[in-house]
Symmetry: C2
């Protein structure tokens, strides 16, 4: 962790001396320098070469990317984008578009025809599709090629540093349809003058071990395949089995971390983007959205309580006890919610399996509901010495905690079924329901039984 | 997703026919068959060969592993464990120990001396250390070896199927100290009769590009390196730089998914283990732990309310409004909590940077506190037409929401500093504080200002 500007400058110097400093470390250092010495920061940005500029720009938050757009000519930025792999180039172009459409157009005009086509091709895919995460650059050969051809191509790719993370060699037929793939290192296992047709004929199992996703399939499918088969890379093909691109394990790695962040943010009702680099004002605004929802739902709860104000006036103990019912219900529901959300994320459940998941959660919550209803009934008796009050809190806890398990497992399944992220605001929806239900059941029962 | 037993049997058949079925899919099928046709399930388990038995057993939940232990001789299970890589073998032995120490001892006695030593070696590492996730099998050569030697070794490893996921060739000196590493495919880039010393001399940058962790370093360090440098594999060395093992990207992948699950579970107060395969009773018991904590904290809140019962008796509107203050505080705090927990997980914050993180969260929450305090003051005025009541809810919301931001960012930082998981029960601790504080500040202010 960086603590001060001097250390940040040291890291930048090490980077420029081509010591082993990652772009992530460089970015951290630049953030610190930007805060403390803006002129030096601008000079460093200007001095970066095309490749470094492209790589660091694709990691940058908006406010730093804006600086790059201001300081560099469209031509320079286009060259930097040209150094990136197609998926990163597309992401960066999209980030630039969000900052300035005009600048984006200028930069786009400076790209080569091939780069433009690639970006237009990849931009078509929605965020949740496998195609959106593939890069079109890959190491592929035809069935009619020999291993010597492949080795020559590999050497060329390596010397030109055109392609990183070359784990797998993809073999296609004359129409570009994917036939099989080989770990690159396995090239040395075969005769160098054999063609890939020969290899496939002698090793028919190769085509069975092939793993791929369709470009319009859900990216989650790719994640599950990569996990289940411990893949380093997965091919992306179109409906005709034509090879379009590949998704590498480091993209999957980033996806997993992003989706873990998104999930816990959605769970807690934090806006999508909430990084250190966003301004405090923007972060507050984005979080306010869910706070407004929460305010509305708690006003409903307040209204529920006010309906029973006569009961509370007669027995003020109700006011003290009612938050216990609501809070225990909310907690029981949160547990069911977290478990269901993770099951959906890991592909262990879906709407088809919903009955089983919900049944399990209801069983668990009713089991705990019984235990805690008895316990709370007893505590209420010791505290207020009113057997009927104990009965009221006992029944309302059974109801609220039990139903919380149902709600907690049902909400994410329903959200997912409707095409939303299963975690979005689910926690706020849940507590809205368990609060309102907790107050209502407890106060209604009190009115009916006690008063 | 599997829906019925017939499909499950089909998948098992495909697996036995050596079609491309992953162990994860086989396991899903076995679970279904176990529920519907126990005899068939037992027969399938018995018919698995050593390698498949080892691989499927290391994925199994406890209840299925118990069946394997009952059905197979210790010798058979020892053979299955012998087929696994050292890290998986160690994990499986530890799972078996948890079921039956006696059986574990019998199996351990049937392992070869080398397998026993490896397992004893790996068992020394705590769960959070890099060493606990490494496998000792790797593809390594000495400086004095030639490339032809390496290619011969690679062919041998491949033919014997001794090692999976061979991405990287590690080069050590005579004392076993790590010197540099090469992507395996890059072997074809050099002269076959060159030694690795020669290669290093001609390409000194190779030793600079080396990435490794120490065995007693935190596993999070390895995760960050793998992410920042897009590594497929990372070397694990001891304090003398001696090469001990490697961690591959698929292990990191599993770790990321597990830690995402753990984090959201800890956040919501679900016990560590809560899979579909655990019995409902066990799951309920483990979740009850945090419900007990929640019950205690909500009893404290109830006590706070009961202190002010005279105020509520005089003005029952207080009972309706007080949960709003508590709920909005809890929500604001949850947002700060989620953001801080993810920052810690992604290495973007730590105790040294705490001041900055906390300051940011307090700024955001006070900003929203002001907005919602004004809004709620206005709503209360319209609803109850008591200006002083509006003032009370205004002040108590500013206080509670503002402080919630502090608590939400401080709790995870403190937990981490004390060596706990920053997410553990943090949500329950937070709402305990925001509830108690919300009720207390609101009712106290009401008593002082209104009554």
């Amino acid at each position: 962790m960086l603590n001060n500007t001097a250390l940040a400058f040291e890291i930048v110097q090490e980077f420029l001396d081509e010591k082993d400093v990652s772009y992530a470390e460089l970015l951290e250092a630049l953030k610190i320098i930007k805060e403390n010495d803006f002129l030096a920061y601008e000079n460093i940005l200007k001095s970066l070469d095309d490749e470094d500029l492209g790589n660091i720009a694709s990691l940058m938050p908006e406010h730093m990317l804006s600086d790059v757009l201001e300081l560099s000519s469209s031509k320079k930025i286009a060259l930097a984008i040209g150094e990136l792999e197609s998926d990163d180039a597309t992401d960066l172009m999209q980030s630039i578009e969000e900052i300035s459409d005009e600048k984006a157009n200028q930069i786009f005009a400076n790209l080569s025809k091939q780069e433009q086509d690639e970006i237009l091709f990849l931009k078509r895919y929605d965020d949740d599709k496998a195609g959106a995460y593939m890069q079109t650059e890959l190491f592929k050969m035809k069935l009619s090629d020999t291993l010597s051809d492949a080795i020559k191509s590999y050497k060329k790719l390596k010397v030109k540093e055109e392609l990183e993370h070359i784990f797998e060699l993809f073999i296609v037929d004359d129409e570009g349809k994917l036939q099989f793939s080989l770990p690159v290192a396995d090239m040395i296992l075969y005769e160098f003058n054999a063609t890939f047709s020969d290899i496939l004929q002698n090793n028919p199992s190769l085509s069975k071990e092939l793993h791929f996703v369709k470009d319009y399939e859900d990216i989650d499918e790719a994640i599950i395949l990569v996990r289940d088969y411990d893949l380093s890379v997965i091919a992306v093909v179109d409906d005709n089995n034509k090879l379009l691109g590949r998704i590498t394990h480091d993209d999957i790695h980033d996806l997993l971390q992003d989706s873990a962040t998104e999930q816990i943010y959605n769970f807690a009702g934090v806006g999508d983007i909430d990084s250190e680099d966003e301004s405090v004002f923007k972060a507050a605004k984005s979080r306010a959205t869910w706070l407004i929802v929460n305010l509305c739902t708690s006003l409903i709860s307040a209204h529920v309580i006010s309906i029973f104000s006569d009961a509370i006036e007669k027995l003020v103990a109700l006011a003290a006890l009612m938050p216990i019912v609501a809070s225990m219900g909310g907690n029981t529901g949160s547990q069911a919610l977290a478990v269901t959300i993770r099951k959906l994320a890991l592909g262990e459940s879906d709407f088809a399996k919903a009955k089983k998941t919900i049944f399990r959660e209801i069983s668990i919550s009713f089991m705990n509901a019984s235990v805690f209803a008895i316990l709370m009934g007893f505590i209420a008796y010791v505290w207020f010495n009113m057997p009927m009050l104990s009965l009221v809190i006992f029944i309302s806890m059974i109801l609220n905690l039990g139903i919380a398990g149902f709600i907690g497992s049902f909400i994410p399944l329903l959200l997912k079924k409707c095409g939303f992220d299963p975690a979005i605001g689910s926690s706020i929806l849940l507590t809205a329901l368990t609060d309102a239900l907790g107050f209502f059941s407890f106060l209604l029962l009190a009115k009916l039984i006690l008063l």
